[in-house]
Amino acid sequence: MTETDKLPSGRDRIESLEMRGITKRFPGVLASDHVNFDVKSGEVHALLGENGAGKSTLMKILYGLYHPDEGEILINGKPVRISSPNDSINLGIGMIHQHFMLVQTMTVAENVALGLPSSRGLLTDLDRVSKRIIELANLYGLKIDPSAYIWQLSVGQQQRVEIIKALYRGAALLILDEPTAVLTPQEVDELFVIMNQMVKDGHGLVFISHKLHEVVEISHRVSVLRDGRMIGTRLTSDTTKQDLANWMVGREVGFTPDRGQVECGGPRLQLKDVACGSDRGTPGLRGINIDVCSGEILGIAGVSGNGQRELAETITGLRKTTGGHVILEGNDITGFDPSDITDRMLSYIPEERMRDGMIKDFTVAENMILREHEKMPYSRYGFLNLREISRHADELIKKFHVKTPSRETHAKNLSGGNIQKIVLAREIFRTPRVIIAAQPTRGLDIGATEYVREQLLEQRKQGVAIMLISEDLDEILALSDRIAVIYEGQVMDIVPRAEATPAKLGLLMAGVHPEETKQTSEVF
């Protein structure tokens, strides 16, 4: 215990917070099954679990967004009632949501002041709020301009606004819901510096993540949830990444997929000076030059919104190019219809699998023939061959281990992992020459992620040219043979896997040119 029990913000600490026997039922699901969880002042307690394990449910109960069916919450040993976010804020609990809760068209000060009583009664007191923001920012080492509009800020800065918002409300305990998911590696480092500072000052932090290396790096204790039940809590120093992964999934998981050696063939997909617009009317791609060879996975790394979506859509013919050429196995396919491109055996695993990858209200069997439904043997003279379609579906369900009650189940009723398996099955089974895989494991749990990655590596072994577009740097590093970093619609550099480090890629992702990268690395 330090000499004072106050936090730098002047509020009292929460020495301990305890959740006991928390149970929450949703129709048909036990989202939280008598879960115990606790956080102390001055520690980072990581909460690990796959999608649907009940992490968010538990934290939403703590923040007052959900009401538990059973169980109690104690602060400093005394039971408390939390029935709304207001209650939890008043008790000193703050939450940094995964999707920022900020109003883009308002300033930092306005966002912070929102919902708080004003010192000027009915009128806003933004000057006073701004002054206090600067005070807090200095105390915690967060740089922020109170008069800036949210839309002008980078993702990392927006996250700082969220932290300030919580501190301003006197948060002694902060819940960080997957705070690193949207950050570059450098921004993650900065966040960790801030988190360490807060812990030293006596805050308690709950850190939700499924990136194991981050959990190992930042947390003091770690708890694992699986299927709504608390599997256990351990000191982080007593565990390894491999332990945690097995614990989370409930079985042994292969941690780094075996890539094996594959001979690189000639280029199958070439992009020459490809340019296109974006949905906002600004340039989406500004002259992209990339080759993808047979038997190679080319990773496309970058911070979200730097042209990834446009890249996938121009190659697949879904978006018009404004310049340059897309060449598939020597043929210029620029401006071709998506169906013509598909027919040349280019497969596409789209980023938004629920929106672009399948039709939610179609059955599993129907979704499996979406791409080939006009071809033999699935249809003839415009009539669907239902027997063949059923046989095909059963075969794929078996081959790709799709967990579904039947081939007639509507896709929307399946889990994200199984939906992705259907997309994968459809796109791989037709023995493509090129695969464009956009965020293929986003939102999937460890088991499904592992499966998708193995399948992509298997395709690579078959000599397919694969472009892997991912915002998950760990995934890029685990799978790619070469890594192209895109920034504002341009390729910053293409780095062979052996020379790629998270730090190097991170700088490129932030728009720092390769020459500058070399200089900085010399400095260090």
Partner: protein, 310 residues
């Protein structure tokens, strides 16, 4: 003759009646702007105005009290707003469609009540002009700005008040946040439902005043469907004005001045087909809208029902 238009008397007349004609637009559009700023599109404004106009007229006619008429119009508008709020906030109804429903309800109900309670067109003596001492004696200006009825002054006072509430008060901050990102507001303990109830009921009340300004201040009669699309123009003015009270004022004035101009042209028997003349305000509005495609974005959560999601 066209040259008749350019005498001082006629120009002052055009401007003075332009100011007067903008009254209902200002009340209705500023009420609508509050709703839209909080994320609710209310297409029922026209219906609220019609019922407000009838209520004000009927009460004024039977009791002889214009103020009681105005109060009744406000209550009727507020009740319509309350119903709209329940349907859109609690029942998560599609806002555009339920708004049209409320319009048709107001249209039919005001007509029915008119038939049952009055049957024939009657007139009342509306709110009198109030001459502001001193200022109303200024030549031209005095007639245009300072010789109007109380509802006209009220409408012009409403513009800065609305701006102040939206931009300088904690309530305004809440309204804007609820219209832009209700999830964020909710996470900070702002009640999205309460704010939306407030703005929709406020909008209904102002629409009621807008209707009353027609029936007991401007025209001093009640007729079936007497608003004839005015409420929909008010909704358009909110877009036109970029969700800002000052912009709405500009739009309302432009529209009313041209309307006033065409009325005077008909009065002066300037040889323009009346159909063309009546079209003028609408055509100019469309042209201005096209020319000045607003750079201002609509509130992000406009017409999206809010549900605390996962």
């Amino acid at each position: 003759m066209i040259s008749d238009l350019f005498t001082v008397t006629v120009l002052v007349g055009i401007l003075a009646s332009g100011i007067r004609l903008s009254t209902p637009y200002l009340y209705a559009a500023i009420g609508e702007a509050f709703g839209q700023k909080s994320g609710v599109l209310n297409l029922g404004v026209e219906g609220q105005m019609l019922l407000g106009a009838f209520a004000a007229f009927y009460v004024a006619l039977t009791t002889g009290s214009l103020w009681l008429g105005l109060l009744t119009a406000m209550i009727v508008g507020a009740l319509m707003g309350l119903a709209m709020a329940y349907v859109t906030v609690n029942l998560h109804a599609e806002q555009g469609i339920s708004g049209i429903g409320f319009y048709l309800f107001g249209l039919g109900m005001s007509d029915l009540l008119f038939q049952k309670l009055m049957g024939t067109v009657e007139t009342v003596k509306g709110f009198p002009e109030i001459y502001i001492p001193g200022l109303s004696d200024i030549p031209g200006i005095g007639k245009i700005f300072f010789s109007q009825n109380i509802l006209v002054y009220g409408a012009y006072l409403l513009v800065p008040i609305a701006w102040f509430v939206l931009n300088k008060t904690t309530l305004g901050l809440k309204i804007r946040s609820v219209g832009e990102n209700p999830d964020a507001a909710d996470s900070l303990g702002v009640s999205v439902s309460r704010i939306r109830y407030f703005t929709i009921i406020l909008g209904g009340t102002l629409s009621g005043i807008a209707g009353a300004s027609l029936s007991i201040a401007l025209l001093n009669v009640f007729q079936q469907n007497m608003t004839s699309g005015l409420g929909f123009i008010a909704v358009a003015l909110v877009y036109f004005g970029g969700w800002r009270p000052i912009g709405i004022l500009g739009g309302a004035l432009l529209f009313s001045f041209i309307n006033s101009l065409q009325l005077w042209m008909q009065v002066l028997s300037i040889p323009i087909p009346s159909d063309i003349a009546v079209m003028m305000p609408y055509v100019v509005t469309i042209l201005v809208l096209v020319a000045t495609v607003s750079k201002v974005r609509a509130p992000s959560a406009l017409s999206k029902p809010f549900e605390r999601g996962d």
